[in-house]
């Protein structure tokens, strides 16, 4: 039995699909704050999927989901990095404290293996690109990044102290169908409100690694299958980058709208705590034999198509 926290969310629901696809039983724990029932509607009536609506801050509820579980896929978190600039305890609670509650419930229930959705933002503004897993020092600049690094540290502490096994996946920007936030999602909503212009936060030169949700889930499952250390730490990405201005162009192209004026608010970053450039070294992932289906631009174009169809223009 697999437990997927945040299993009704963007990446979590894709992971549930993949686990069910290979015949596994899945229990989902989600508070549906950003997750959506419709992301799981195709599993309705399935014997393979069990859905529990509960919050990770409810420690008893978390404990009660551990029976029979062999692997916890801890995907739940506040998905909106920018929120930390306004509400400062969201990432602390829904990130760090939630991960503590998951690990503590695992310890009490004797569940050993955790696969965790970390993020490239733990690197902060790295001065080495592409950035490998052993880069240091780690100086995250967002509250979201702080909660991801804190959660990684809790996992390694649980491994060192109580014998847990941890898979720590440092995600590139993950994009794809069912996206509920992020730059492509924002651009489409902006075009929906005003099809004549597209406002881009920053100067558009922000440049990051993107990975499709499908490749993200494929790589996580590949690593759990093929990597067997106590702590298995990998960057998940495609080994390239795409600029925000290029994303704007792709979204406009896919929208079919004509004469859209792309306007930049200026400045090197979108908001305080935004990392202007992120470029992950994924050679460790590739050395395990994983082959991504596409690069950053492929992932972005496919996502633009999918989200335009989901959101409607």
């Amino acid at each position: 039995m697999h437990l997927v926290t945040g299993g009704a969310g963007f990446i979590g629901s894709h992971l549930v699909d993949s686990l069910v696809g290979i015949g596994e039983k899945v229990r989902i724990l989600d508070n549906f704050s950003s997750g959506k029932a419709e992301f799981l509607s195709h599993h309705q009536g399935s014997d393979s999927v069990e859905i529990i609506r509960a919050d990770l801050l409810d420690r008893e509820a978390v404990e009660s989901t551990m029976e029979g579980v062999t692997t916890v896929h801890h995907m739940a978190a506040n998905p909106d990095i920018r929120l930390g600039t306004e509400v400062t305890d969201t990432d602390l609670n829904q990130g760090t404290v939630a991960t503590y509650n998951v690990l503590e419930a695992m310890r009490i229930s004797g569940v050993r293996r955790i696969s965790f959705a970390s993020s490239s933002v733990v690197y902060g503004e790295a001065n080495l690109m592409p950035t490998p897993e052993d880069y240091g020092p780690l100086l995250p600049i967002s509250l979201y990044g702080a909660s991801k690094l804190a959660s990684e540290a809790l996992i390694t502490a649980w491994a060192g102290t109580f014998g847990a096994q941890g898979y720590i996946h440092r995600f590139a920007n993950i994009v794809g169908p069912r996206g509920t936030h992020g730059v492509i999602f924002d651009f489409i909503h902006k075009l929906k409100r005003d099809p004549t212009r597209l406002e881009v936060l920053g100067d558009g030169r922000q440049e990051k690694s993107y990975l499709s949700a499908r490749d993200c889930v494929r790589s996580m499952m590949h690593l759990i299958e093929n990597s067997h250390e106590e702590i298995n730490l990998h960057n998940l990405g495609t080994g390239d980058t795409c600029s925000v201005s290029r994303i704007a162009e792709i979204v406009v192209e896919e929208s079919g709208l004509q004469g859209v004026s792309i306007e930049f608010t200026g400045g090197e970053r979108g908001w305080a705590g935004d990392v202007p450039k992120s470029y992950l070294d994924v050679s460790k992932l590739l050395s395990t034999g994983f082959v991504p289906e596409g690069g950053s631009e492929d992932a972005i174009r496919a996502t633009a198509k999918a989200l335009i169809s989901e959101i409607g223009l």
Copy 2:
């Protein structure tokens, strides 16, 4: 005005002494859980020292201490690393959440500068010795280490998002008068109970960097004076190590006891989550012009003398 959290504790009270010694005003925030009034008794009646008894988990109380403060020296934490093996939320609350409360109170009150007592345990079991500040990946193996890394990340996030300035000091093992825990303290208490034998946890070959509390405080104050980056990250230590079996010998020598049998429980580490070897690269600290007064063995011998006199044998 300086605010010293944990100012009644081991390192905090030495810092208070030094700040008062150079004519600074100091406000102390301490819950006296491990701090002691007697560590501050020589400041009684002083105009320079104000003592507030409150817990860092009481956010309103923390906020009320910020008036007029220019620098927060955040020294408060659970001092007992081993406790995490038994009570798993101590470091989360008294470490991570407490640091969040301090930073949030600073943000609300417009206080910008924080000097933080981090630890060499954030490196976990490093495979590079001596270990420099840019070592990675950081995989702490104790819950205490996880809380220190989480607190570092909160500080860098507050710097990146809200413009805070952070001094992150990764301490070697700090030893000295007023020590309330640690290997020298434990050895003296064991000899007090049974002066014929001294039990050493592990095989005695655990080997770590030690620094006197006096040099620790001197180096923190030196860095605040001489380093002016947004994030100032330094290992604090003497650039050498001492083994646990050597510490046992020194404590027995200083005790004056004859015929003490030193007995080892065996195994490479003292307890689950104990790092067997820690050796800090302090070249970055030394490059700022700081000169330690002594090495690890000097610090240990002076501490053994002081604690034997404090505890009594």
